[in-house]
Symmetry: C2
Subunit: 589 residues, 2 copies
C-alpha cells in the first residue's frame, strides 16, 4: 500500500464516494445523532465532567477518526468503561467539578492520544494482546457493576460516591436517609422505561404495524423520549425546587479551543492511567471494528486504528473533551443504520455540533437521574458472569485470571483490576511453560507413528528412551528438562540412547542450549548418548551457530522413525508397553 | 522417599558413614579451613561488616546446611556477589560501621532464610529459572567489575565508595590525591602475588618436585601466606602509624547468639533486597551443587536445597552473621580435596570456630589492603564478557537481555540490574511467542511428509491452505493468528479449505479458543471451511469441553496426510510450488 494512503485511509474510500453512499451515510448519521445526544451527556456525567464536554468529545474526535481510521462503521466518542477509568484517574489529581478536574481531563486525553499515536507509529498494536479475552470480559463485567452502583445515587437523589464496591456500598448505605422521593420516582420510571425500550419496544412497534427498519429507528429514539418526558415533568411540576438535581446551564456554543496542561507533575501522575485507558480503549475499539468489518469481508489495520484513535483523542484534548474510543453500541447502530463510509461519522459530528449550538437551552431542566438511568441500562447489558463458568469448565488458569480481575476491580478499583488481570495471565502462562508436558513415546506397531506410551499401546526398545518435549525450550524450563532427563536415565541402567523428539520445540534459546550441552555432557559421563529427531528448520539453523552439534554424542535424525530404526539393537526384540488408546482419544496424538 | 529422610538428608548419608569417609572428610576440612579464614574476613569487608562476622557467617550456616542440604560437596558461607548485594541493601537503611548496619544484616539474613525456606516448602524452586543463564552470566560479570572497583580504594588507601560504575569512578577520581604510598605498595604486592598464586604457583611447586595433590593444597594456602607476610610487614615496619588501614581488634570468641530485629519498617525496606539476594544466592548455589553432583552421578534436590540454604541463613541471622549461600570456589576446593559427605562441612565449621577462638589476635595488624587484594583477584576471575559474543552469535534476544543486565547493573546498581535482566528476558520471550512462526506447508512428492513451502519443493492444492503454527496458541498471539489466517484467505479467492496443522500447538487457552471460534465463523461467512490436523491428546481433551468442535465447519484429522487426502479436489491436479531445500538444511523440517 502506498505510504500516504496507508496513513490517510480517507484517500482510498473518498475517491469512490458517490450519491448512493452519501444518502446511506446521511440516514445513518441522523439515527446515530439522535442516539448520541443523551448518551454523550450521560457519559460526561459518568466521567465527572460537565454535560457539554460529552458533546464536545464526540465532535472533533469523530471528524479526526474519519480521516485516519480504517473502520467504515466505527463511531468514536465517550464510552462507559473509559469514562469510568477517566473519573478514577482524575479523582486522584483534582476535585470533581473543579477547574483543575476539567483541565486534567484534557491532559489525560492528550496523553492517551500521544500513547496511541506512538503505539501506532511504532507498530506496537500487539501489546494490546496481553489483555486476554477472559480478562477483558471479567474487567468489563466488574466495571459495569461499579458504574451501575455509582450511578444509583443519582436515581436515589443522594450524595456520595467511591471507586470500589465497598466504598460504593458504604456510601449508599450511609446516605440512604437522604433519599429524595421525586428523584427516585422520576429515576425509577426512567430506568423501567429504558429497560422496556431495550427489550419490549421494538416488538411492540412491529405489532402496531411499523416496518422493521422504522421500528428499529424508533426504538433507538427511546432514550430521547425519556429525556424529553422527564425534562418536561421537571419543568411542568417545578421538581427542581423539590430537590431533583438538574443539568442546568449548558453553554450554547461550538466546542472551544483548549490547550492541555502538560506540566511534568500532572503528566507524571496521569501517565500510567493514560496508558491503561489507551490500551483498554484500543482493545474495546478494535474488537468492535474487526467484528463489523468481518461482516462485510473488509479488514481493519490494527496499527492504523491506533493512529485513528490517537488522532481522535488529540482532538478531544484540544476541544474541551476527555478520553474517547470506539464504542460498541454506537458503532453497531451506525452499522445497522447502513453507514457505508466514515463520512457518516462526519455528518454525525455536524449533527452534534448543531445540537451543541441550538439544543442546549432545552436540556436545562433535564434531571441527572434520567442520564443515570441511561447509563445503568447500558452498562447492565455489559455485566455477564458467564465467563466465570466458561473459563472454569475450559481451563483453570483462565478461570483464575478472570476471577482475579473481577475481584481486584471490585475490591481495589479499575486501574489495579486491569493491571492485576494482565499480570496474572502472564505469570500463569510462564508458570505453565516452565513445567512443560514431556511424553515418553514409542512406536505404534505396524506404523511409523510414535505416540505417548501412557496413552497408546506402543513398542519400545529398553536401550532407547525417546522423550517428546511439548514446549519450546527456553530459560524458564531449561533446568526442568535437565532434571527430567537425568532423573529418567539415572533410574534406568539399561538405557544407552536418549532421543529428544523436537517436533513441538519451536525455539531453543541460549539458556536451553546450555542445558542441552550440560545434558549431553552428563549423559556422556554415564555412557549414554543423546540424539535429536524432527528438529525444525529455524531451530536447526540456530543450533548450527553454536558448537553443540559438534559435541553431541549422538546424531540428528530427520524423522523419529529413522532415529528408532538406526539405533535399534538387533539382538533385543521390541517390548510392548503402554495401554490401548482410550476410546475418547479419537483425533488426538 | 520417606518424609523424614527427605527433609533430613543427613539420615541417609549418616547411616553409612565409616572410617574411610571420615578420613577423607577430615583432610578436605583442613584444606577448606585454611582457604576460608582469609576469604571469610575479606567478604565481611566487602559486605561492610566487621571481620569476625565473616567467620561467624561460615560456622552455624555450614553446620545447618550439613543437616538439611542434599549436596555432598557444597560449602556455604559468605560469597562475593551476595556480599555485594548485602552491602547495597544495607547501605539504604544504615551507615556502614554503625550498630544499625550489623543489626540490619541479621534482619536481611533472617528474611532470606524465611524466603528460601518458604520457597522450599512450597516447592517454588522453579521460580529461580526465570533468571536465564545469560542474564546470570552478565550479572556476575558486571557485579565483578563493581566489586573490584569498590575494593580498589582499599589498595590505594583512599576513602570513598559507591554502588554504580559512575559513582565508583567519580569517587576514585576525586580522592586520588589521598593515595597512601605504604598501602599502595603493600596492596599492589599482595595483588600481584595472589594473581601469580592463581596462575603460576602450582606449576612452580610441581617444578620443585611436589606431588600434584600437595602442590594443589599449597597453592590454596597462597592467600594465607599473603595474609601472614603483610601482617608481619605492618607489625615489623609499624606501617599502621604510616596510614595503612588495619583490621584491628577482633573479638576472641565463638559466634554470639543474636536476635534479628523484625520491626515492620525494617522488614518492609529489606524484603525486596532479601528476595533478590535469596534468588541470586540460590541460583549460584544450585548451579555449583548440580555440577559437582553430576561428576559423581549423584542428584541434588532443588527444593530441599532451598530448605538447606534457608536453614543456613537462619543460622547466620541468629549467630551474628549476614546472608550466605553455596560458594563456587570453596565448594570446588572442598570437592577436589576429596570431601565425601556434608560431615566435611561440619569439620570445617569446627576449624573456623577454633580460628575465631584462637587466631583473631594474630590478625590485629592484618592490612585491609590484603583482604581487598584477595577479593579483587577472586572476582576478576568471574568477569567474562564472552557471554556477549556467544549470545550475539546465537540469538539476538539473549544478547539484548545480557547487554541490558550488564548495562543496568553497572549504571544503576545490582538490584535494578538483576530485576531488569529478569524483566527483559520475560518480555522478549512474550514478544517472540506473541508473533509465532506460521509456515504454509505442502506435501513433499512421493511421501506423507508436509513441509514449509518456502524451504522445500512441495505439492499443494490451490483450494487448500495448510498452515502449521509453531507455537502454543494463547492470549498474546490469538489475535495474530486471526489476522494471519484472514489476511491469507482474503487475498486468495480460490481457497475452499483451511487446515490448521497443530503438531506444535501444545496449548490452546480460552482466548485462543475464542479466536478459533471467530476464525471459524468468519471463514464460514466467506464459504471457506476450517479443519484441524494432528491435534495433541491434551489439547484435544480440552477442546472437547467447549462447543467449538460442534461448530467447526470442517473436520479434525488424525494426521495431515489423511486431511490432505480427504479434502483433495479430484479434478484439480496438484501444483508444485516452493523451492528445493537449501543444501544446508539437512536435519531440519
Amino acid at each position: 500500500m502506498h505510504a500516504i494512503t496507508r496513513y490517510f485511509p480517507i484517500l482510498t474510500w473518498g475517491r469512490s464516494y458517490d450519491r448512493s453512499a452519501l444518502s446511506d451515510d446521511l440516514i445513518a448519521a441522523v439515527i446515530v445523532t439522535i442516539m448520541l445526544v443523551p448518551q454523550s451527556l450521560a457519559y460526561a456525567l459518568l466521567a465527572g465532567m460537565p454535560p457539554e464536554a460529552g458533546l464536545y468529545a464526540s465532535i472533533a474526535p469523530i471528524l479526526l477518526y474519519a480521516v485516519f481510521g480504517t473502520s467504515r462503521a466505527l463511531a468514536v466518542g465517550p464510552v462507559a468503561v473509559v469514562s469510568l477509568m477517566t473519573a478514577a484517574a482524575l479523582g486522584q489529581v483534582a476535585e470533581q467539578g473543579s477547574m483543575g478536574y476539567a483541565a486534567a481531563a484534557l491532559t489525560l486525553a492528550a496523553l492517551s492520544g500521544v500513547i496511541l499515536l506512538a503505539m501506532g507509529l511504532f507498530r506496537l498494536g500487539f501489546l494490546a494482546n496481553f489483555l486476554s479475552h477472559p480478562v477483558i470480559a471479567g474487567f468489563i463485567t466488574a466495571s459495569g457493576i461499579i458504574i451501575a452502583l455509582g450511578q444509583l445515587r443519582h436515581i436515589l437523589g443522594i450524595s456520595g460516591g467511591g471507586d470500589t464496591l465497598i466504598e460504593l456500598l458504604r456510601s449508599l448505605g450511609g446516605n440512604l436517609g437522604q433519599i429524595n422521593l421525586p428523584t427516585l420516582v422520576l429515576g425509577g420510571l426512567a430506568t423501567a422505561f429504558l429497560f422496556w425500550v431495550r427489550r419490549g419496544l421494538k416488538p411492540a412497534l412491529r405489532g402496531l404495524g411499523l416496518g422493521p427498519r422504522l421500528a428499529d429507528v424508533a426504538a433507538k429514539a427511546g432514550p430521547v423520549a425519556a429525556v424529553a418526558a422527564t425534562t418536561l415533568a421537571v419543568w411542568g411540576l417545578d421538581l427542581g425546587a423539590r430537590g431533583v438535581a438538574i443539568v442546568g446551564d449548558v453553554p450554547q456554543a461550538l466546542p472551544p479551543l483548549t490547550m492541555p496542561d502538560l506540566s511534568p507533575d500532572l503528566v507524571g501522575q496521569l501517565l500510567l492511567p493514560a496508558l491503561l485507558i489507551s490500551v483498554i480503549g484500543f482493545v474495546e475499539s478494535i474488537s468492535v471494528a474487526q467484528t463489523l468489518a468481518a461482516k462485510k469481508r473488509e479488514r481493519v489495520s490494527p496499527n492504523q486504528e491506533l493512529i485513528g484513535l490517537g488522532a481522535a483523542n488529540m482532538g478531544a484534548a484540544f476541544t474541551g473533551g476527555f478520553p474517547v474510543t470506539g464504542g460498541f453500541s454506537r458503532s453497531v447502530v451506525n452499522f445497522d443504520a447502513g453507514a457505508r463510509t466514515p463520512a457518516a461519522g462526519a455528518f454525525t459530528a455536524f449533527g452534534l455540533a448543531l445540537a451543541a449550538l441550538s439544543l442546549t437551552p432545552l436540556i436545562y431542566y433535564l434531571p441527572k437521574a434520567t442520564l443515570a438511568a441511561t447509563i445503568i441500562v447500558a452498562v447492565l447489558g455489559l455485566v455477564d458472569f458467564s465467563i466465570l463458568k466458561r473459563s472454569w469448565s475450559y481451563s483453570k488458569p483462565d478461570f483464575v485470571a478472570v476471577a482475579t480481575t473481577i475481584a481486584v476491580t471490585l475490591a481495589l478499583g479499575v486501574e489495579l483490576g486491569v493491571s492485576a488481570g494482565v499480570a496474572i495471565s502472564v505469570l500463569l502462562y510462564l508458570f505453565k511453560t516452565s513445567r512443560p508436558h514431556i511424553a515418553e513415546v514409542g512406536r505404534i506397531p505396524g506404523t511409523e507413528h510414535f505416540r505417548n506410551i501412557l496413552r497408546h499401546e506402543v513398542q519400545t526398545d529398553p536401550a532407547i528412551v525417546t522423550l517428546r518435549v511439548d514446549e519450546s525450550l527456553y530459560f524458564a524450563n531449561a533446568r526442568f528438562l535437565e532434571d527430567h532427563i537425568l532423573d529418567r536415565v539415572t533410574r534406568d541402567k539399561a538405557v544407552e540412547h536418549v532421543i529428544l523428539h523436537c517436533a513441538a520445540v519451536n525455539e531453543i534459546d541460549l539458556s536451553a542450549l546450555e542445558s542441552l550441552e550440560a545434558i549431553n555432557q552428563r549423559l556422556s559421563e554415564m555412557g549414554v548418548s543423546l540424539h535429536l529427531s524432527e528438529v525444525k528448520g529455524p531451530v536447526m539453523d540456530r543450533l548450527k551457530r553454536g558448537h553443540f552439534l559438534n559435541d553431541l554424542t549422538g546424531r540428528v535424525f530427520l524423522s523419529q522413525h529413522e532415529a528408532a530404526r538406526a539405533l535399534q539393537s538387533p539382538a533385543a526384540p521390541d517390548e510392548t508397553r503402554g495401554r490401548a488408546p482410550a476410546p475418547d482419544n479419537k483425533g488426538g496424538i
